[in-house]
């Protein structure tokens, strides 16, 4: 069961409002995604100040034998990246919904989250893959 305190996309990202600031969202990839990727070895992340778009490529994630694009779940501007991932990319494998968060984004439109999948919808989605 995916955590129900956040929303999801078909590219296996999660996103939720950052507790400390209503206008900022925090995002990462799901348990399913990290399992598919295998041992993650490197992240290429956007820079603070970069614009990101809903389902637009914002970076790359590398495992030993594969490279995958990283997509942003929402529109906005990057305000913070999880620096720990630069030296410890495995945090995303270990705790994708917690310590393994990837970026924080100042959202263009807070209501965007409403149109994303709920945790139940996401669980149904991945069950069908």
């Amino acid at each position: 069961m995916s955590p129900d305190d956040r929303k999801y996309t078909e590219e296996h990202e999660w996103v939720m409002i950052d507790g400390s600031d209503d206008g900022t969202a925090i995002a990462g990839i799901t348990e399913y995604a990290q399992d598919q990727l295998g041992d993650i070895v490197f992240f290429e992340l956007p820079k603070i100040g970069d614009s990101v778009a809903h389902l637009g490529k914002m970076g790359e994630v590398e495992s030993v034998k594969a490279v995958s694009d990283l997509f942003s779940p929402i529109n906005g501007t990057v305000t913070e990246i999880n620096e720990k991932l630069l030296d410890h990319p495995e945090l995303v494998n270990e705790d994708p919904f917690g310590e393994g968060w990837i970026i924080k984004v100042a959202m263009a439109d807070v209501t965007e989250l409403d149109s994303l999948m709920s945790s139940q919808d996401y669980d149904t989605f991945i069950a069908g893959l």
Binding site: V41, F42, E62, V64, K65, A66, V67
Partner: protein, 450 residues
């Protein structure tokens, strides 16, 4: 041929039994019968019948005895460097090759092994590559080196492309004192990637903000040492990368490009235990700074541990390469020159700390002796007044090509005619393989030729 060869198809009802192909007619029949067919041709039924089994106009097979004779005949028509005094360099160098190199590289376990993708089955190759990477870093004064590339020219071209990726700029500046062949190869690599190639005078490179790199050769094509410190600084001031193609033999003596702050250092490993062999195979050397590692092309061997905690080696950061990144790879390179990376690793180890220095010094003193002797001959001079290592340019009293023709009649291989760049210029190379007698013979011969 008068006698019927016992192995020809006519004698053997269409079957040729090669000594490289074990299956006999009977064994083939067994396999065919397991497949429920009568003859091998049936396995090729997918080939359109109108194109199947074309006539091949190739010579009849030769026995190994005849191969030795025939290939011996062809080999004997080529003048080997060791047959007489030889003073030709220009990118391919006659250096001493320790006997253990050939003995080790022709071991079946090295020479018939594949690329080490299955790490558990390739620890020998992978550990050798790790040693190679280590020694090249130490030789060039750089932080990280790859497992080798094709040759000095293509390594340099790939370095220029890498500089463009790192700086996100689209122009490369090449010093006019680098090898013309290297310039040609860089142009070929850049033509399709919309990268502009500019030739600059190293005494005044005048780089702009759109230049990704300045490409230098050290010593330069003519053998001379340029002011690397100043050139690297001028490059960095513009936010560009300093790319240096560096002769590895010179590294026994000269300050490293890494010391001067070079960002990417390339070279040709041929002088490190590889015969001149008419231009190849050689091995390209490539080293850079740790911060650029993900943009570096070619393979990397990394040290790690196995599940029992034992140290082992594995190809790593493979996500840079073509088999994973495909059209977004740092380079298309797959097969490189691993056997010759092994040869140069053995060379560097056999020469070692002391031997590399000694070889460099022998080349230095002998070439300077030769230059001084030749410069004292009437009609000959040294037009370039800069420090040099093992090669230098002599201005001759007449066409170097004509002089070379006369030299070769005396079984002396002269230097390269570079009169396109320097009037009546001859690029001479003197290494540890040239004895004082060799050099004196050259000087004596030149003194007769005006």
């Amino acid at each position: 041929m008068t006698a019927t060869r016992p192995n020809t198809p006519i004698a053997n009802e269409g079957h040729f039994q090669s000594h490289y192909i074990p299956s006999t007619v009977d064994e083939q029949s067994e396999m065919l019968s397991a497949l429920g067919i009568d003859n091998i041709d049936q396995l090729f039924a997918d080939i359109p019948v109108e194109f199947r089994n074309p006539h091949l106009d190739l010579p009849a097979p030769l026995s190994e005895l005849e191969i030795q004779q025939e290939l011996g005949r062809m080999a004997s028509k080529n003048r080997a460097m060791g047959s007489g005094p030889s003073f030709l360099g220009a990118g391919s160098y006659n250096h001493f090759i320790p006997s253990i190199i050939k003995s080790l590289i022709t071991r079946g376990e090295f020479i018939t092994a594949y690329t080490p993708y299955q790490a558990e089955a390739s620890q020998g190759t992978l550990q050798v590559i790790y040693e190679f990477q280590t020694l090249i870093c130490n030789l060039y004064g750089m932080e990280v080196a790859n497992a080798g590339m094709y040759d000095g020219a293509t390594s340099l071209a790939e370095a220029a492309l890498m500089a463009c990726r790192v700086t996100k700029r689209e122009k490369v500046a090449l010093a006019d004192s680098i090898s013309p062949a290297y310039i040609d190869v860089i142009r070929t690599y850049c033509q399709s990637q919309d990268i502009a190639v500019e030739i600059v005078d190293p005494s005044n490179p005048a780089l702009g903000e759109e230049t990704a790199c300045l490409v230098l050769q050290y010593p330069n094509y003519f053998g001379y040492i340029e002011d690397l410190e100043a050139l690297v600084d001028a490059t960095h001031v513009q936010g560009a990368l300093a790319v240096v193609s560096c002769d590895p033999t010179a590294m026994g003596m000269l300050q490293t490009p890494g010391h001067y702050g070079a960002d990417i250092v390339t070279g040709d490993g041929q002088p490190l235990g590889i015969p001149v062999s008419y231009g190849g195979p050689y091995v390209g050397l490539f080293a850079t700074k740790q911060e650029y590692i993900r943009q570096m092309p070619s393979r990397l061997s990394g040290r790690t541990i196995d599940k029992n905690g034992k140290t082992g080696y594995v190809l790593t950061l493979q996500t840079r390469e073509q088999h994973i990144r495909r059209e977004r790879a740092t380079s298309n390179i797959c097969t490189n020159e691993a056997l010759y990376a092994l040869a140069s690793t053995i060379y560097m180890a056999a020469m070692g700390k002391q031997g590399m220095k000694q070889v460099a010094e022998l080349c230095y003193h002998k070439s300077h002796y030769a230059a001084a002797q030749i410069a004292s001959l009437p009609g000959y001079s040294l037009p370039i007044d800069k420090p040099f290592f093992q090669e230098f340019v002599v201005q001759c009293p007449s066409s170097p090509t004509d002089i070379n023709k006369k030299l070769i009649d005396l079984n002396i291989l002269g230097g390269l005619d570079v009169s396109e760049k320097i009037p009546d210029g001859m690029l001479l190379c003197v290494t540890e393989m040239n004895s004082k007698d060799d050099i004196d013979a050259l000087v004596a011969a030149l003194s007769e030729l005006k």
